[in-house]
Symmetry: C2
């Protein structure tokens, strides 16, 4: 029998087992695997052990392997054949800290099913979505396949790390050291969201990030503006003048060469995005805004996803306390970041920004720069074969076309998979904008969890029949 | 005998008494009359009592009078006749706090004579210059006149307050309440400086100050730049764009109407100022700068004294800690001040600034303003008669032409004298730029103290012969 002929059986199995799946998720959510706080190192280890044991019970050889930080899990399906499509699944078992804990309505590590104000059932706990709930949708789909058919329909390796929330700095060397064990045809990542609660999405592009800090210095000390005002250069004046010129009146970024290499969307994607009807009213209204602030000849959705941006994330200089002080500061600084897109080289963007600032410095002023981040954008091939299969499967499950969407934010692991393992990633997740990830009262819709499991059941079936 | 024929006698008396004058100054400096700290209220009262008793001993009816805060001293010369020129002398006995006290080389209230690195003798203590040393030059000159001739050469009222360092807020109502007692022809104020240690100066203009705080608000909360970047308005971008346009490429302020009413200097004053040869090297070099930053068609001395300015004194918004945060802030704010000159109306300047900002606000942004200060410039008549007499006397004492100079900073009491008592003020003082007033290790040159006394001896003599 072909994999697709099994899908209905496996879906029935997943549905029958859903209450138990929920209990398994709750058991995982009770483990306080906060990676940022060394006090929870044993909990992180416990989460890894717990997950590895569970995965081992559904047809995998699973091991907890050490890294320089919290351990990672590597699991290979016992039914791997070497001549089927081979996917590397990625998730993370670590969670964000729970502060401010007093804003939680319930203890963050005592998961419950609650009623959302609008009637939805939600799972509430730290990690309910990010990423314990999400990774569990995949693990439960594997279980259903294994339980119903005695095997996984494609070759599978699962890797789950424990330091995503603290920057994965030990996981990237781990990837490098385990290249052979992690070899696959493509990666599957479950750490993203849906377009809305009715519309599934595959994230096919991620903006990169160039994050610079610039400090302008003038006099060798703070000055009294009564004595020196008018005669002495003021670094805040210089900084505002330079930063204030970064955008033109059409919202375009004025740094020479900034848009070099930026491509327009393929017409079919642009048409799809137009169809999503992302309006200023819907998207900006809830945050108190009404007017898209980006390039005025672009759709709001392009401004947010496919166009590069420049934001000043922080600025400080001089006296900022209560009342007034007649000071001319010796220095002023700003944090400036660029969300960059496919075709833009982060090093060239950083250099162009620095050159832009330096060229506009008046005499007597110096600029110092600090590189806080420098990551390229990721664009997955729109025509990648597993993506078409996954899209078909999602559309079947949700009864709506799955949209191919970009994310305005960065997920660095995707670039790491490409660089270390040579893998493109298919990013599919069931998170919603109101999940409060990284915040108090994190939740995951019960529907996201259940239909997430069913989605992966279908995706695994579809991938089994996709051309490699 | 005319007053001028007494001057040499009085000078000789002042010189002979100088060591005693120094001891009297030291006694005053030992009193910890810090007005800002309620713990020193009794010391302030003690300083007032001490000074009043001393002034009473040199031919004055002196009283300590209550205010709503620390008391003030009012003293009238017993020899007032009602038909001679009548001067109201002003000084203040209160001093700044001494923090950070660990930076003082000696206890701040144990005055000593020390050797400056370049060989000058200096008096070191809190208040050595500001204003106990300065006011004592006048009191000692009165003593010398009284001791040598048995009278003061002009009619004199002395008023000394105890809250100058905390804004004189109780002294202004005191002036209003004692108008009759304080009636005079003009005021003498000893709280300013010399041009340099060889060149005496009379301060004839003071810039006013309009100090605004502006806050730009956009979204109703902080946003993640990965999700909203490009689409959501960023208040720091708006603020830098608006503030960055306040000056044009020639250093001119671009607010419409800003320069309305600003007059050029009288040619003779401009010629005198040119002769002072205030170079960028001399003035800006010590603070690490080399290029005057104001209007590029003006002399540096004009930029500092007679031209209005705009300085951004502080700016803050978004994330300003270590590292990076991809935030779009909900608001950003800046403190912006204008040093204004004769002919500019502070209310019109404030309104013009607010209109400038408001006109440049993009949709979705709001601006809030806070008025921190709003004081007009003071310009004394260049041809005021006591001023010519004082200038002649200073030139005789120092062997150099006394310069008529403006101050870039504000001395609010001068406007208060004009408004409450109708008096123009002649501002003469012997401070130097390196006196560290308001800072640790405040000092007063011994030469400033001695020749300051001698200067007032001569000025009183010259005023006695000046036309009223």
């Amino acid at each position: 029998m072909s994999a697709s002929s099994h899908v209905q059986t496996v879906l029935a199995r997943a549905d029958a087992d859903f209450d138990a799946a929920l209990q398994r998720l709750f058991a995982l959510l009770r483990i306080k695997s906060i990676s940022a706080d060394p006090a929870f190192a044993a909990d992180c280890r416990a989460a890894a052990d717990h997950l590895a044991a569970d995965i081992a019970s559904i047809g995998f050889d699973a091991e907890v392997r050490p890294t320089a930080g919290h351990p990672a899990i590597v699991a290979k399906a016992k039914t791997n054949t070497g001549n089927r499509p081979h996917a590397l699944f990625y998730g993370h078992y670590d969670v964000q800290p729970v502060d401010p804990v007093e804003l939680w309505h319930r203890p963050p590590f005592e998961p419950v099913i609650a009623d959302h104000a609008d009637g939805r059932k939600i799972i509430v706990a730290r990690g309910a979505q990010d990423d314990k709930g999400q990774l569990s949708t995949f693990v439960e789909a594997c279980r259903a396949w294994n339980d119903a058919t005695g095997e996984l329909p494609i070759d599978l390796t699962i890797v789950i790390e424990g330091e995503e929330e603290v920057g994965s700095k030990n996981f990237v060397p781990f990837l490098d050291a385990h290249k052979k064990d992690l070899a696959a045809d493509f990666a599957l990542v479950c750490d993203t969201g849906m377009w809305d609660r009715h519309t599934p999405a595959i994230t096919t592009s991620l903006r990169g990030l160039v994050y610079e800090e610039v400090k302008i210095k003038a006099a060798n000390r703070d000055l009294h503006s009564g004595v020196y005002g008018g005669g002495a250069q003021n670094p805040i004046r210089v900084l505002t003048r330079i930063l204030g010129g970064l955008h033109d009146e059409h919202g375009r970024i004025t740094i020479p060469g900034f848009y070099d290499g930026v491509k327009d969307l393929p017409p079919e994607i642009l048409a799809q995005w137009k169809g999503l009807n992302l309006t200023a009213e819907n998207f900006l209204g809830p945050i108190g805004l009404s007017i898209p602030a980006g390039e005025d000849d672009r759709l709001l959705i392009e401004q947010l996803i496919s166009r590069p941006t420049c934001d000043i994330n922080g600025i400080v200089g001089g006296y900022t306390g209560e009342g007034s002080k007649t000071v001319i500061a010796a220095e002023a600084s700003a944090k400036v970041s660029f969300r960059i897109v496919e075709g833009q080289d982060p090093n060239r963007i950083r250099d162009a920004f620095r050159a832009y600032v330096t060229a506009r410095l008046p005499g007597d002023c110096r600029a110092e720069f600090l590189d806080h981040s420098n990551g390229a954008a990721i664009a997955l091939p729109w025509d990648m074969k597993p993506l078409a299969a996954a899209r078909r499967a999602l559309t079947e499950e949700w009864g709506r076309d799955a949209v191919l969407i970009g994310s305005g934010a960065s997920i660095p692991i995707v670039a790491d998979f490409k660089r270390t393992l040579g893998l493109d990633s298919v990013l599919i997740g069931f998170g919603l904008d109101d999940d409060n990830i990284h915040s108090p009262n994190e939740k995951y819709d019960l529907n996201s969890f259940q239909k997430g499991i069913r989605s992966w059941v279908r995706i695994l079936g579809a991938l089994a029949e996709a051309p490699r």
